[in-house]
């Protein structure tokens, strides 16, 4: 599995879909037979996974790069994000 770095361009895996929950307004990450309720910062991060680099995502969010990379690595390990 490739390491996630500031230059990685993370994208949502094709099996994963983001949507807004109609009852709570929270963002859900859905994938085969599973789903995660995302907190607002995770939701904002994943909505920026549109081809830009992890470094740009961290800058856009004003978040520490290390935190962004750690989150992306966790989702990548679960096959939900490709880097």
């Amino acid at each position: 599995m490739p390491e996630v770095s500031a230059d990685s361009r993370p994208q949502l895996a094709r099996k994963a879909r983001l949507r807004t929950d109609r009852l709570t307004g929270e963002t859900l990450l859905l994938y085969p037979e599973h789903g995660l309720v995302l907190n607002p910062s995770a939701a904002a991060l994943l909505r920026l996974c549109d081809g830009r680099s992890a470094g740009d995502i961290a800058a856009e969010l004003g978040a520490p790069l290390a935190d962004v990379l750690e989150f992306l690595a966790t989702l990548s390990e679960r096959g939900l994000v490709t880097t």
């Binding site: 929950d21 109609r22 085969p32 096959g79």
Partner: protein, 362 residues
């Protein structure tokens, strides 16, 4: 007991038909079917809309074999319109590449394909039909079209020793996910229990193979091993709790908290006559075993009660005749000897398998 927030269903299990070209001896479908007409397409469309309003975000189109309904594309399209994540749970029979492409175009999100074994002969033996090569072809189309693929294999005595070959098959097919589900002894599987149940040694060996493969495949293929509860000493948290996360709709339009619950002496809501919301929130059947207030001893005072809710109601009923009893799979159940005896009987004998067939009761 602290008040719980009102539960909502996240997953709709849409059992579109009980018909199936395969006759798997481990099937959990009912062994006897009531003579009731199938729910019409328009009703299914309505049920999908009501499910979305209730909070459902995933739908499993399953059966029987859901491909046998020729309005499946329209139902998938409706799910897509509602932003429901749609999973097609299928044997791959009968399926053409064109139909799969049409389902994808309608908005299908993912496909779960069953395999019975890593080899054609063993496959036909348990399924009654020689479907292996066709399934390989279907898996190829799924990959070509770029749909996420889960391979599902139900495990039992005859295929547990080949778990390494099954994992290799799923890798070769390019599966995103492999679900290795030990048989749950409900429906036809209950009738075939003594012939299907593996030994503890088989299970331990398979568990070790799966653990090693999971570490090796991390990030490439998710590997799920559904534990066999007859060999554990604590029961499963069935369906994540009765009426907590899942709502099942049967081919004839009944709402159930679990796909096996039709065996219980309860009246399940008829969705021709009432809405999914009233079935979920108000029906007696859905409230009957919801939460932990219904529990009796030894479950009532057990420190695991919020975890397992006393286990599987259907299993308790099948084994003891009392749906309110502790699941006998639990070592703390006063009727745990029933499970010990079932294990011993399976170790002692290997009766022939009874393949499933459609049997309608009038």
């Amino acid at each position: 007991m602290s008040p719980q927030p009102r539960p909502r269903p996240y997953v709709l299990v849409a059992e579109l038909t009980y018909r199936c070209p395969l006759r798997c001896a481990y099937c959990s479908n009912p062994t006897e079917l009531q003579d009731r007409p199938a729910l019409a397409g328009a009703d299914w469309q309505r049920v999908l809309g009501e499910a979305s309003e209730l909070g459902v975000v995933q739908v499993h189109f399953t059966g029987g074999e859901p491909l046998l309904r020729d309005d499946l594309e329209a139902l998938v399209a409706r799910a897509a319109q509602l932003e429901l994540y749609s999973n097609l749970i299928t044997s791959g029979m009968p399926l053409t590449r064109d139909r799969l492409a049409a389902l994808q175009a309608a908005g299908l999100c993912a496909l779960q394909l069953s395999f019975q074994a890593a080899r054609p002969g063993a496959s036909a033996q348990i399924a009654g039909v020689d479907a292996f090569d066709h399934k390989l072809q279907v898996a190829g189309w799924v990959r070509e079209l770029g749909l996420p693929l889960t391979v599902n294999v139900v495990l039992h005595r005859e295929n547990l020793d080949e778990v390494d070959q099954i994992i290799a098959l799923a890798e070769r097919l390019g599966a995103d996910r492999l679900e290795l589900a030990n048989t749950q002894y409900l429906g036809w599987a209950y009738q075939n229990r003594a012939a299907l149940m593996p030994s503890l040694a088989q299970l331990d060996a398979a568990r070790a193979v799966v653990a090693a493969a999971r570490a090796r495949l991390r990030g490439r293929m998710e590997l799920l091993f559904v534990l066999p509860d007859y060999h554990g000493d604590r029961p499963r948290t069935c369906m994540n709790g009765w009426g907590e996360r899942y709502i099942v709709v049967t081919p004839d339009g009944r709402a159930l908290p679990c796909h096996a619950a039709h065996i219980l002496p309860l009246v399940f809501p008829d969705l021709r006559a009432q809405s999914l919301a009233s079935a979920w929130h108000d029906s007696e059947a859905f409230q009957k075993f919801r939460g932990t207030d219904h529990l009796r001893e030894p479950c009532k005072s057990c420190d695991q009660r919020e975890v397992d809710h006393g286990g599987c109601r259907c299993q308790a009923f099948l084994l003891t005749g009392d749906a309110s009893a502790a699941d006998p799979v639990c070592g703390l159940s006063p009727q745990h000897d029933l499970v010990v005896a079932a294990r011993a009987a399976a170790d002692a004998a290997a009766p022939a398998l009874t393949l499933r067939r459609l049997r309608v009761v009038r």
